[in-house]
Structure formats: C-alpha cells, structure tokens
C-alpha cells in the first residue's frame, strides 16, 4: 500500500478532532477524517458507518473506525442528517489510509445548521494546530 504524505487541502474545513468537511452548496457536505487522523490510527481494517437517515450532531461521534490496534470514534464536524454512506469502504477500508480526502470519504450529510461552518478551521489554522500539539 502506498501512502500519501501529510497534506491538508485548502478547499476543506477542519474540525479539531481531525475531521474534515467539504461543503456542497449551502446545505450539504461530505465528511471524512484527516491525513493526521488516519496516520495516527494506523492501518484501518473496518469502517462502521451510521444508518442513512440518522441525525448527527456537531462534536459528537457518528461512526467508528477500527485500526489493527484500536477502535476510534469519528466526530461530526457539523450537524445534519446522513443522506449517503461510503459503502465501498466495507470491502476496502484501506482507502481511508490511501486517499483520506477522496475515495476514503465517510458520509454525505444534509446540514441542519450550515452556520456551524463558522466554527471550523481553515487548512492553515488546522496545520498550525497540529504543529503546536
């Protein structure tokens, strides 16, 4: 498996629990975990997605990612309702490691409070947060 180097695309918004959101119009977004998160977890072996239709809340867990050493909660960067989950990860959870911002996306969400975007970090801010940690 070839892994990408650390990178944090500028067009995404970031949550300090190492999740990203890609806004799609005013009230939809795609969520995933950051390069830093997948690197800390190690090889991901299982993704336990939420149900389509489930309501999720900003800062709360909405899914689980299992690596060979630990099971970790995935934190929602914004609130909303799940409209799609990445079913392909059932067979290829390693995509979360290989392509965390692309094929490794986790859920698509209809946002219930789009204004929450104001609380998220830009790529530069997120990078700075990581440097301080």
């Amino acid at each position: 498996m070839t892994l990408p180097d650390a990178h944090y695309p500028d067009e995404l918004l970031y949550h300090d629990q190492h999740d990203w959101a890609r806004l799609d119009g005013d009230d939809h977004a795609v969520f995933g975990i950051t390069w830093y998160a997948q690197d800390s977890l190690g090889e991901v072996v299982f993704y336990d997605p939420p149900e389509v239709g489930a309501t999720i809340s900003k800062d709360a867990s909405y899914a689980e990612v299992e690596s060979v050493k630990a099971v970790s909660d995935v934190i929602a960067p914004m609130s909303g309702e799940i409209v799609e989950v990445n079913d392909a990860l059932e067979d290829t959870p390693e995509k979360i490691n290989e392509d965390p911002y692309g094929e490794g996306w986790l859920v698509k969400v209809k946002l219930t409070q789009p204004e929450e975007r104001g609380a998220l970090l830009g790529a530069d801010e997120y990078r700075k947060m990581l440097e301080k940690a």
């Binding site: 299982f46 299992e66 050493k69 630990a70 099971v71």
Partner: protein, 467 residues
C-alpha cells in the same frame, strides 16, 4: 512486627501527628460509644508458618478427588485422562507466563497456538470461524446471547431446559443487563420438547439455545429443532461437548449459527472446578460480532509464514469503554492444553475415543438398568452420559457409594426438582468395565439398604474395592 503489617507504631504516630490527633482512640472519638465494639474481634491468635501449613493440609485432606474416588460425576466437567505431554508443553515458561503483549505479533508461538486451536475447533464444529478461547462454557453461552441481539436487533432468547443449568443462569444474569428476556422450553422423554419449542419461537426471537448432548446426556435432533429458528430469522446456538464431536454430526452441518461449549474435557483436569476454558465458533456472517480474539495466518515481508492477531472487535483493550467483551490472555493456556490433547489423540484417535465412550456408556446404561431399584430416566440415544431414576433417596445412595470409594454420579434433583429421583452418570475412557460393574453392584446394595430390604451391615460385607 511481620512484613505483612503495613503500618508500624512509628508509621501510625506519624500519620496521627499529620492529621493532628494524639491517638487512634481520639481519631475514632466521634463515633458514639454505643456503636463501638468495645472488645477485640473474635479472631484466633496468629499462627506460625508451620502451624498454618498443618492446618491447611488437614483441611485439604477432607476433600475427595477424582484420583481417590472412582468418578462417575460429569454434568459438564469430565474425568478424562490428560496425557503427560499436555503438562510438558503447557508448563514451558513461554506459555505458562503470558501477558498480553501490546504488540502481539512479537509472540509468534502464542499466536500460532491460537491459530492451530481455532483451526481444530473450526473443523470439529463444522463452522468457518473460531475464536482463540473464552473463560468457560456458561459465559460463552451468555456472550452468544449478546451476539444474537446484535445480529437480529431482537431481545428474546428461547432456551432449552436441556442447556446446562449454569449456562441458563449465566445467560439470565447477562440478559438483565442486556434488557433481554428468556423463554424456557421443557424436556420430554429426555429431549427438548419440539412442539413447545416451535410454539415459543417467533419474529421477536433473537436466538434458540440448545445443548447437544443435552444435560441429561440425550442426543438432540438439532437440525429439526433448529428449523423454527431458521423460519423466523433467529440464530441457532448449540452448546456442545467437544468430546462428542468425533462421532456426532458437527453442529455447523445441523444448521447452527454458533457452536460453543465448555472446553474442560479436552486437556484440562477437573481441578476442583477450574480454571477451564470455553470455545466459540460461528458462521462467517458473525465474525465481527465474535467475542474474544482471532489469530490469523499470513506471510511476513520476506514471504515467511507468520501469525497476527487479526480480530478482537468486541474486546476492551481496543474498544475501551465501548467494549462488549473482555478475555484474559492467560486463558490461552487452557486452550493450549486442549490443542495438545487433540494433537496427541490425532484424527483417528479422537474418533476412536468417541466410539469407546459410546460403547462403554451403552454397557453402563444397560448394566445399571438391570439393577433392582434403577430405571432409565429416558430412552433417548446418548454418547457418554445418561440419566437413571433411583427407587431410594438419591443423596443417601450417593453417600453409601462414596463410602465405598465411588462417586456414583450427579444428583439431578439439585437443579431439576422434576427429577428428584434422578442420577446422572458419566463415563470416560478412564472408567473400566470392572469399575462399571462395581458401580452397579454398589448402587444395588445402597438402594436395597435404603429400602430396608436387608440389614445395613450386610452392605458392609459386599465386595470392596475397585479393580
């Protein structure tokens, strides 16, 4: 002052000074006088090490064990011969002193043993997935309850009364925490009542729990009983005696989604009740809901065969507060004993052992049924254990047999009020024909004596000893 005394007078004075009181009496001064004991505790004086040794040796000598009594007691744990090679291997320090290495792949030997054990159990049960072992039979049954709830989203367990009473109790205890409900189905002619079972299973049933052979020793019609579970989308959980798997159709071929059980008969002695281990096998669909750990085989970077800890999806060390199961590494030692025993027996030996059990048990069942005052409790086919009714108080008969060095069986009335006169008799390869004959003779004499058919002292003149 002994080294077991944690606080010396100096320590105590220092502590009292630190909290600003002069004495222990002053410290407890706030406790009203009437509430205080006002005298030392009624404990015996301390003893020297030698005195303690004598005392414990005297207490230990009051125990009877399966080496000094001829043991026909089974009821879930069996007096099989454990070959010396089991001890030779399990006592190796590499296996005897395990602790969860947080990089488990460093312990290739431990993982290989787990993998081989899983492979053996998977073959024996006819199910594709096995874990590396659990604590014992009953908690394995209870863990299957959780799995069934997770798999079906339902919370009702239909449980045969032929399932070991300890397993039923443990499942009931766990069910309180799960918010689940147990429905018990009775026995008829020694077997699970098929009609009652079918009536009890519905669309709310998470799982049907059977035991084969059941607690009374009877071989159940697992496939037929399991049909109701299949029809309603419930899981079929079958607790099995591993020693019977060399000759009975594997539970996986009878429709079981989960086969599990008490592992003690394989490579573990009675040891006054434990520790033993449990085994747990399931269909591929349930692999992520399995309790415990699963070791896997792989190749390393240089293409050499190696082993990894592949799955531990419910365990506390990876799920922390969200864990739904916890197993201890040390349990692998008991499972290793089983693996060594199985390897020692070999495929043919394991099957032959099963055949021997069937033959000897058939002899014992026939021999006992011919004794005056002994009737079969059921006529269902059995492998290595059977139930009879005695025409005399069972506990008194057992006492009389024990005086002759025979542990004659397990009194069923202890767990089954409906079989107050029932005795469960287990046979292992250690029980010889002569011992079985002695048992028949001793039972007959004890029953006759209890019925007052001839003077008590006559029984004392009956042939002594076990050949």
């Amino acid at each position: 002052m002994t080294r077991y005394t944690s606080a010396t007078p100096d320590d105590r004075a220092e502590m009292l000074a630190a909290i600003g009181v002069d004495s222990v009496d002053e410290l407890f001064g706030q406790i009203p006088e009437p509430l205080r004991l006002g005298r030392p505790l009624a404990l015996p004086e301390g003893m020297s090490e030698a005195e303690v040794f004598e005392r414990l040796a005297a207490l230990a000598a009051r125990n009877a064990d399966a080496e000094e009594q001829v043991c026909f007691v089974g009821a879930g744990m069996y007096d099989h011969y454990v070959p010396a090679i089991v001890d030779a291997i399990t006592q190796r320090s590499e296996f005897l002193t395990p602790y969860t290495p947080y990089q488990p792949e460093i312990s290739q030997g431990g993982l290989q043993v787990m993998f081989e054990f899983q492979t053996a159990m998977s073959e024996l049960t006819g199910l594709p997935v096995s874990n590396a072992g659990l604590y014992e039979g009953p908690s394995s049954v209870a863990s299957a309850g959780y799995l069934a709830m997770a798999a079906t989203g339902r919370k009702r367990f239909v449980v045969s009364r032929g399932l070991h009473p300890h397993s039923r109790e443990t499942l009931a205890t766990y069910a309180v925490g799960y918010g689940a409900e147990l429905v018990e189905v009775g026995l008829r002619d020694g077997e699970t009542d098929a009609e009652a079972l079918t009536a009890a299973v519905d669309g709310e049933t998470a799982a049907v729990f059977l035991q084969n052979p059941n607690f009374l020793g009877a071989v159940e019609r697992v496939e037929a009983l399991g049909a109701a579970a299949k029809e309603h989308g419930a899981l079929l959980v079958v607790a099995v005696d591993p020693m019977t798997l060399g000759i009975l159709r594997p539970p996986g071929e009878c429709g079981a989604d989960i086969a599990l059980g008490e592992g003690q008969p394989l490579g573990n002695r009675l040891d006054f009740g434990g520790p033993s281990f449990g085994f747990f096998c399931a269909t591929q669909d349930q692999i992520r809901r399995m309790p415990g750990r699963i070791a896997g085989e792989t190749d390393d970077v240089d293409g050499r065969r190696g082993f990894v800890l592949a799955m531990q999806t419910r365990e506390q060390h990876i799920r922390r507060e969200k864990a739904t199961h916890n197993i201890c590494t040390a349990q692998a030692l008991n499972a290793l004993g089983a693996m060594v025993h199985l390897a020692w027996l070999g495929r043919e030996g394991f099957r032959e052992l099963g055949e021997l059990l069937v033959q000897r048990t058939a002899y014992a069942r026939e021999r006992l049924a011919a004794v005056e005052g002994v009737e079969p409790l059921h006529e269902a086919p059995v492998v290595r254990e059977f139930a009879v009714r005695l025409d005399a108080p069972v506990d008194r008969v057992l006492e009389r047999c024990a005086e002759r060095g025979i542990a004659a069986g397990y009194p069923l009335g202890r767990e089954y009020p409906e079989y107050e006169d029932g005795l469960l008799v287990a046979i292992t390869e250690r029980r010889t024909k002569a011992q079985i004959d002695d048992l028949a003779e001793a039972l007959g004499a004890a029953i006759a004596a209890e019925r007052g058919e001839f003077p008590v002292d006559m029984t004392d003149k009956s042939p002594q000893g076990i050949s």
